[in-house]
């Protein structure tokens, strides 16, 4: 069977680096980052997700939308939650799913990324879901795939994790409605977090009232104020009057690299305990992208407490990923929207 690899011509210095996410009709084709989506696409994804979340409440949790399509999970970095929710999302859309754990596979044998891609394209894949430890990997793949293939970024390096940010926004909207009166605080390792970066972009595009980050100086990126956030180094000040608290996972290698003195010190100053939670609004919700380090960034009784929506985030992640997949696979098809 002849397989043609028609490569789109990309100018060396594209005027809009995010334009690649859209097809010639302006329809979302790849989801690589929140930047460039704008409030209209973000809202459309969240609204579409509402429909899919109601599907997952039914006895038969499946719709026939992507019957006959093939989704390939390309995971160059291991991940359980993200991969399984993408897999479940694709299956609930009736797509066929292939999981490739490339952290342990062909690339280790010296095959180049492009060769791997071409081989998988030859299996008639329609969508790649890409997780990679290097920033920009999903962009690179999107630039080189065949015209009918869509790419969804499932996390690249420190850069971006758009579906996580969208499911967080979805969860906040379900609990709090309108974003404009809300104060949202992101707590922890902002600097090395692709999740935090995407969350800041999505909340800005939804016109959130006030966005705060709370962390020690060593874990705040230098240019963070450009994103319109208020920086706090003290939990009591930072959590005052906050409606939503997003805790980030603290990775142990940060301690080894000398950015933090110790886990105990971090927990004492920034760990979300019941005592510190009381400094926020009484109806504040507590979020965490998972997996949570209990006793490092969050107290067990808070993670399991009445204000926690951590497990809801996981369920909502399936509906949001169903929305992203079906919207991206609508590209190049003359969508009427």
């Amino acid at each position: 069977m002849a397989v043609h690899f028609v490569r789109p011509k990309i100018p060396k210095f594209a005027p809009d680096p995010w334009a690649i996410q859209f097809d010639k009709n302006g329809h979302l084709r790849h989801l690589l980052t929140i930047e460039g989506l704008g409030p209209q696409w973000v809202t459309r994804i969240l609204d579409t997700a509402e429909g899919f979340v109601s599907v997952t409440d039914r006895e038969i949790k499946k719709v026939p939308l992507l019957r006959g399509r093939t989704v390939v999970n390309l995971f160059f970095e291991s991940s359980t939650r993200t991969r399984t929710t993408f897999e479940l999302a694709a299956k609930r859309l009736s797509a066929d799913v292939l999981n490739l754990n490339l952290a342990t596979s062909a690339t280790k044998k010296g095959e180049s990324l492009l060769d791997t891609l071409r081989n998988i394209e030859a299996m008639q894949a329609d969508m790649f879901v890409v997780r990679h430890e290097q920033s920009g990997a999903a962009h690179f793949i999107a630039r080189h795939v065949a015209p009918h293939v869509s790419v969804v970024n499932a996390g690249d390096g420190w850069h971006s994790h758009p579906t996580q940010a969208l499911l967080d926004a979805f969860t906040i909207r379900r609990h709090k409605g309108d974003f404009s009166p809300l104060r949202v605080a992101i707590v922890g390792d902002i600097r090395h977090s692709r999740v935090a970066r995407s969350q800041m972009h999505v909340l800005n595009s939804l016109n959130v009232g006030e966005l705060r980050v709370i962390a020690p100086r060593t874990l705040i990126p230098t240019d963070v104020e450009k994103l319109g956030v208020r920086v706090f180094h003290d939990m009591r000040e930072g959590l005052r009057d906050v409606d939503v608290i997003i805790m980030l996972r603290l990775q142990r290698e940060r301690m080894e690299s000398g950015l933090l003195p110790s886990e105990e010190e971090f927990y004492r100053l920034y760990g979300l305990t019941e005592e510190k939670l009381a400094w926020a609004k009484h109806d504040a919700i507590v979020m965490h992208p998972g997996p949570a380090n209990r006793g490092v960034e969050i107290e067990s009784s808070v993670a399991d407490g009445p204000q926690s929506v951590i497990l809801e985030q996981v369920s909502n992640g399936i509906g949001v990923r169903m929305a992203v997949m079906s919207l991206c696979m609508s590209a190049n098809r003359g969508d009427q929207a």
């Binding site: 579409t48 109601s54 038969i60 719709v63 939308l65 079906s326 696979m329 609508s330 009427q336």
Partner: protein, 173 residues
């Protein structure tokens, strides 16, 4: 070219549809029905029938976006509001309601979706207008009006209150 049938106003079509369904109810053609409307126009008609038949259970609403057969060519249609069917459909008599029955593809999609909620005993179809141009072996059990249109004509139903209907040329729209 003037088509042979003038269109009944929406309120008259609803009255006729109600009369037909009440007669069927008296003949025992369905028992304790669950009314399910198809978004968007079908929900308006279903709401009127729901009140007229005095059903106690909430009205079901189906949004067939995820079941359409034109995803391959048109992609995902924008979705206004999700399906909402809070009552168990197993073993029930369902009256499926739409505003206009044309090709039959919407009704096919709606039945596919209904079966993902459970196994109804019977599904009956009630529409405000059944027009010519069917593409599937599907026809309404009850219709406010059965009408033949010109080849380029469509029926547009607006609502919810008051509901109005008019024929439009697809050449114009």
């Amino acid at each position: 070219m003037t088509p042979p049938d003038p269109l009944l106003p929406a309120n008259e079509a609803i009255d006729r549809l109600e009369t037909e369904i009440r007669a069927a109810q008296r003949r025992g053609e369905f028992v304790d029905p669950l009314i399910v409307g198809i978004h968007t126009g079908g929900v308006w008609v279903a709401d009127a029938l729901h009140r007229a038949l005095g059903c106690s259970e909430p009205l079901g609403r189906l949004n067939i976006t995820f079941y359409r057969d034109d995803f391959h060519t048109l992609g995902l249609h924008p979705q206004v509001s999700p399906s909402d069917l809070s009552v168990d459909v197993d073993g029930r008599d369902i009256i499926l309601v739409d505003d206009v029955l044309f090709t039959g593809r919407t009704v096919r999609a709606a039945m596919n979706e209904l079966f993902d909620y459970g196994r109804p005993r019977r599904i009956r179809l009630a529409v405000l207008y059944q027009r010519d141009g069917g593409e599937l072996p599907i026809c309404a059990d009850w219709a406010g009006q059965r009408v033949t249109l010109g080849p380029d004509e469509q029926i547009h139903v607006d609502g919810p209150a008051p509901m109005t209907a008019h024929r439009v040329s697809s050449k114009e729209s």
